[in-house]
Assembly symmetry: C2
Amino acid sequence: MTTRTHIFETARLIVEKQGVEAVTIRRLAAEIGYTAPVVYQHFTDKAAVLDAVLEDGFRRLGARMLSSLALESPESSITVVLREYLKFAQQNRGVYLLMNGMTNSRPNPERRAKAAAPVVEATLLAISSWAAETNTTTSQTDDECDTLWGIAHGMASLGFLDHIGFDRAWALTTQAVDAITTSWKIKE
Amino acid sequence: MTTRTHIFETARLIVEKQGVEAVTIRRLAAEIGYTAPVVYQHFTDKAAVLDAVLEDGFRRLGARMLSSLALESPESSITVVLREYLKFAQQNRGVYLLMNGMTNSRPNPERRAKAAAPVVEATLLAISSWAAETNTTTSQTDDECDTLWGIAHGMASLGFLDHIGFDRAWALTTQAVDAITTSWKIKE
DNA sequence: GCAGTTGCGTAACGGTGTTAGATTCTCTAA
DNA sequence: TTAGAGAATCTAACACCGTTACGCAACTGC
């Protein structure tokens, strides 16, 4: 394992277990047996390290959403894919918060947008699969994609709240998504 | 104006204009003509200062939502109140991000929940007004309230993204809310 | 064996939140 | 008017942060 990936993996682990706030250049270095300046030979600065973690997060979330689509399921493609989204948020809280800028060190917006591509792709695929399942012809797929994304993120944020939790957040999500997809069917 | 409110107002202004990251104990002190330790005579620590501006944010958002309900409007109460929510997010970006933990210094969860009460109250009122307007009897008002909140927050998060913006986020919000409220009507 | 490159550590700069202690000011009581 | 108590304020410091300049040592190719 190269030193760079060693640093990256350490950062990812800390973000997962203790949140971004716990990531420190000196700590990253210490945990791989070096001193702080070594980190700067592999990343331009701290933001670059966190960007790497963030991009990896989007890649993994996108992959999970995609593979959830491949499985046979009695539920609609949209339901399946959104559940994977919420599950990822619940299981990868630290990285999820980093991915969505819910942290001090916000990523460069355009870089974030580029990194999010796999998730967008999976969502679009889910929509077209859903259209096939329900014999619906969708026109404004971008609108539908962003709507789903907005709802998924809003509900995930709800899930993080102590007095709501992810079980209830998911229940509300299914209700909302059902309502919206039926409205899409009617509109055609 | 007491020194305490002077500090608070300064913090609020900095959060509004430059974001939470720009708030510094030394800077707060300097801008009111004192040195850093003076701040600690009025707030236990930095988090307490930010908590104060966060609580003020929820109070003001709740008040705006409530007063928007008082106005006559051809639109549904829910639409009116959610537009006020999105407008607040757009116009008070810094405070909104702070209110929703999208920042390094996350508030104490239970304290945040208590602070959010005015917003919840306004949302509940909007739902009951909407029920009266549409002759609907709502049962699970808590569910409906959280659903609206989740959507509003999700769509506001979309609005902050450069490639989406608040105009489009609002358009998607109205569509989603229309779909959900009609599903509520049918369910009764 | 020598020169050059590379990898790494030491030390430092300016900044952060926070606290202890000295100092100055104000206001009451004699 | 002045002595003293109390509050208000500042200075200095601690431990940490991200980041950079620089020196040293070891390994490379000749």
